[in-house]
Symmetry: C2
């Protein structure tokens, strides 16, 4: 995203609003590297989950459910936790239900709707896939950074994550 080119329309910014400076060459370079790593890493990790017949979204669902009490979560909360629309999550859960990894059930005594449960097969699948997934995460990302870089990047990212979580909570 070329946001430092001088010919783009700075002058067309809304009346009266403060002008925001374009990204400097360094900022631009960094911003593109961030986007590229986020996207390509997600793509590559997804590819390496394919032999397990899982999409990266599926793996995330398995992890989130496995960390929830009783390995289940209300569908609406699961949508929030995974930042998906309810309709998109619903499609995904239907797919995962056919594969036997999760089960949708009403909760007796709770009118607020449907829960997604991790099945025994879902749990076993996650246990089986996790070592390969860690290997992928290390090989393509973590092991390419020094401990100092990891510390520094965590210090930089943690407050940003907090800011974005707070915004998201308000939405």
């Amino acid at each position: 995203m070329d946001m430092h080119s001088p010919d783009t329309a700075v002058s067309s910014s809304p009346l009266g609003e403060e002008e925001t400076p374009w990204l400097s060459a360094k900022e631009q370079q960094f911003w593109r590297a961030h986007l590229e790593v986020a996207k390509l890493l997600d793509y590559q990790l997804g590819r390496e989950l394919q032999p397990h017949n899982l999409a990266s979204n599926d793996y995330e669902i398995l992890v989130v459910l496995s960390e929830s009490p009783d390995r289940r979560m209300r569908m609406t909360d699961l949508a929030t936790a995974t930042l998906q629309s309810k309709s998109r999550l619903s499609h995904q859960i239907t797919r995962m239900e056919s594969a036997g990894l999760v089960l949708r059930q009403d909760c007796p005594g709770d009118r607020r709707g449907l829960y997604a449960h991790l099945t025994e097969l879902g749990w076993e699948t996650m246990q089986k896939v996790a070592p390969d997934h860690v290997r992928s995460v290390r090989h393509h990302f973590i092991d390419r950074l020094s401990p100092e870089q990891i510390d520094a990047m965590y210090a930089a990212l943690a407050p940003i994550a907090e800011h974005l979580r707070a915004l998201r909570g308000r939405a």
Copy 2:
């Protein structure tokens, strides 16, 4: 993704393969912060594009086409550039075509198929949206980092981006 819990199945890794150590607490913390920032930032930037009737994927298409010679690109190359499947890109382009932002056309004398062209409206839309988008990127990300952090993170991410691009090229 809890990848340092001692109870997950390290012992079930495939026979004969070297065991990959789980992420340390610090690595785990950093990995989650990375995932969270990537995902929440994409979500927030997408939300702030909504008043312009654009999804973040749409904005990306506008940027990629605007930077291409003659503001057009072969559909298959556009799918590669934006890391999407051809069928998903095709749906997206259909939507953007209805909005008048792009146009699909055969290229005379080129049998290798369909091109997506940026329309005049698409170009103007990008010019109009870009200042707001830069403001969002600064507010939620870039301006929350010091110049030293930006330099350090770029130095860390650039080789990873290169590694992932090379893998992707081979795929």
